[in-house]
């Protein structure tokens, strides 16, 4: 469904010194800065997959999304999305895709969402019966039916995002690009959006590419993920393999009633970190040892609480951002 081969985007900007003298100087002397936003990027996504596209700010995620949707033209390399070259921007291609940008509204600000929907219905040539069915179904799923007649500028961010999602799905796209769809939303709204995407995907089996800084989005929706760092692909594979990048170790946290001493022989050969003045420890252990070691600690120490790390993927991301070399080890 989506195939990229040695995809590259190079941006050229010009240095400009501050102030009036800088502005005058820039007329006759400009120093160009060339920067690769994306370099030699290969990708192969099959129909019906949901892929998480991750990476730190400035890694090239959004540049990739812009190239996939035909908004910007690649400097070199090839892309084919749903059988089309996006940069040609053929109408048949535009009817097959949809893009939701968390940081930019696609709904017209000064009119009710329903007016925007009606306009999009005409643009995508959606028959009336199908259109009515779609907005009723999705409106109910997202609980926003009563907001159709409200001016978009009067909606909360969460409400607007739900309507943005609806607008993007009216024409039943084959590929949906979601660029940080949950950014700035509260936890409940994030969960609503995630559930909707999941449910909609299960029913319609469309291909989804998702970028997000929230690992919960990726964990809830994606089986596979692609990590991009410095414009280059750093990881491409199942989420489970990504979680194992730091090895098969798991972090287990124990909280004790009183501070304990780590001089004990039991802890001497373990990868342990003392927290809260000895009242809590983080123990990095092999998954296979989890059961035995946990029961030993619970039986022999004054444990009042314990938990394994809830979001290992977040830790992997942080570790990779701090030290990208981990991926080569």
């Amino acid at each position: 469904m989506i195939k990229a081969d040695k995809l590259t985007k190079k941006f050229t900007t010009y240095k400009k010194e501050p102030g009036l003298s800088g502005a005058i100087k820039s007329f006759y002397q400009r120093d160009a800065i060339h920067k690769y936003a994306v370099k030699d990027f290969d990708l192969d996504i099959k129909s019906g997959e949901i892929i998480g596209l991750l990476g730190p700010n400035g890694a090239g995620k959004t540049t990739l999304m812009k190239m996939f949707t035909g908004i910007i033209v690649p400097s070199s390399g090839e892309i084919v999305v749903a059988g089309h070259v996006p940069s040609k921007r053929e109408k048949a291609f535009r009817k097959k895709i949809a893009l939701v940008m968390g940081q930019k509204s696609q709904l017209w600000w000064d009119i009710p969402a329903l007016d925007s929907f009606l306009l999009l219905q005409k643009y995508y040539e959606v028959p009336d019966s199908k259109f009515n069915k779609k907005i009723n179904e999705m409106g109910e799923m997202l609980g926003v039916t009563e907001l159709f007649d409200v001016h978009v500028r009067k909606l909360s961010l969460g409400e607007r995002m739900k309507l943005e999602l609806m607008a993007s799905l009216l024409h039943e796209p084959e590929v949906l690009f979601l660029d940080e769809p949950t950014i700035g939303l509260d936890l409940i709204a994030q969960e609503n959006i995630r559930n909707f995407i999941k449910e909609y995907h299960e029913e319609n089996n469309l291909t989804v590419i998702l970028t997000s800084h929230y690992m919960q989005d990726v964990q809830a929706l994606c089986k596979d993920l692609v990590l991009i760092a410095g414009g280059e692909k750093a990881f491409d594979g199942p989420l489970k393999s990504f979680e194992k990048v730091l090895g098969h170790k798991k972090s287990v946290y124990f909280t004790f009633k009183d501070a304990i001493s780590l001089d004990d022989q039991f802890f001497k050969e373990k990868d342990v970190q003392v927290l809260k003045g000895g009242r809590e420890i983080e123990l990095k252990i092999d998954e296979s040892d989890l059961r035995d070691l946990s029961s030993h600690i619970i039986q022999n120490y004054p444990v009042i609480d314990f938990h394994t790390e809830k979001i290992p993927i977040e830790k992997v991301m942080k570790s990779i951002m701090k030290n990208p070399e981990i991926l080569n080890q």
Binding site: F11, A98, Q103, K104, S116, K122, E125, D179
Partner: protein, 265 residues
């Protein structure tokens, strides 16, 4: 047929957007044209003050005011449109959605322009009615009004493609307002919006006839006033300029879109 529906719905949305903030719309669109008219009215009143019956290059005070009433109508219908937001939208990366919809960017803007024109024509007719009722405009020939209206609509097409060009230059320039303001000022003076071109030396008038300027205001006013106008020359000269700017727009768009970075997305 379905394509016509896309245009109609876009026009409808544009109409709703334009009329959503009525007071704002009045201030931005009708306000400046009305103020400009009354500034010119005061200017010519002062000039003719000593001898109201005096003729300046064939214009009495009444004829001069009639000229400027029609100048107001032409500026509303022919040059009312502005691509004020387009360059900013390009620079801020706000046109991305329009590149994804299966309805082209130029189609969206042209449909919005047509909707705006309908509104402008209605406002012009109402204002003209007020001028007639209050006696500021002495008489009106419906035949010449419809001829003048057609000419003004033709002018508006040229003005639209010219404005569109100043908008898509935003692919390269961070600020395009200086170009727009310069264009506006040059047009006001060279098109006869302040001084009828009859007041210009003949050599100037002959040179100006090869430019689009006299066709933007002076000739449409003459048509409204029922005076002799070289209609064919009006149609083909402005037509040639229209095709020229359209061609430039196509080239600029094709090159510009390759420069587009969709900043801020």
């Amino acid at each position: 047929m379905s394509h016509a529906k896309k245009w109609l719905q876009t026009m409808k949305i544009s109409w709703v957007k334009n009329t959503a903030y009525r007071f704002n719309f009045f201030l931005q669109v009708i306000g400046p044209a009305l103020i400009f008219f009354f500034v010119k009215y005061s200017l010519w009143k002062t000039i003719y003050k000593s001898s109201p019956e005096e003729m300046i290059q064939g214009y009495t005070f009444t004829a001069m005011i009639t000229y400027h009433i029609w100048s107001f109508v032409v500026s509303m219908i022919g040059q009312g449109h502005s691509a004020l937001d387009m360059a900013v939208d390009i620079r801020m990366g706000r046109i991305s959605s329009y590149l994804i919809y299966p309805f082209n960017f130029w189609e969206f803007h042209t449909a919005s322009f047509l909707s705006f024109q309908i509104l402008q024509i209605i406002i012009s007719i109402v204002t003209l009615g007020i001028f007639l009722a209050t006696g500021i405009l002495e008489s009106l020939s419906f035949f010449h009004f419809f001829l003048g209206l057609s000419a003004s609509i033709y002018v508006s097409l040229f003005w639209f493609v010219l404005q569109y060009l100043t908008g898509i230059i935003g692919f390269w320039l961070e600020e395009t307002w200086i170009i727009r303001v310069s264009l506006q000022v040059i047009t006001v003076f060279l098109s006869g919006a302040v001084f009828p071109l009859d007041l210009f030396p003949e050599v100037w008038r002959n040179i100006l006839d090869y430019t689009p300027f006299p066709y933007l205001t002076y000739y449409p006013i003459k048509i409204f006033m029922g005076q002799e106008v070289p209609y064919l020359k009006f149609i083909y000269t402005l037509g040639a300029w229209l095709i020229t700017v359209l061609t430039i727009n196509t080239i600029v768009w094709r090159r510009g879109i390759r420069n587009y970075t969709a900043a801020g997305m």
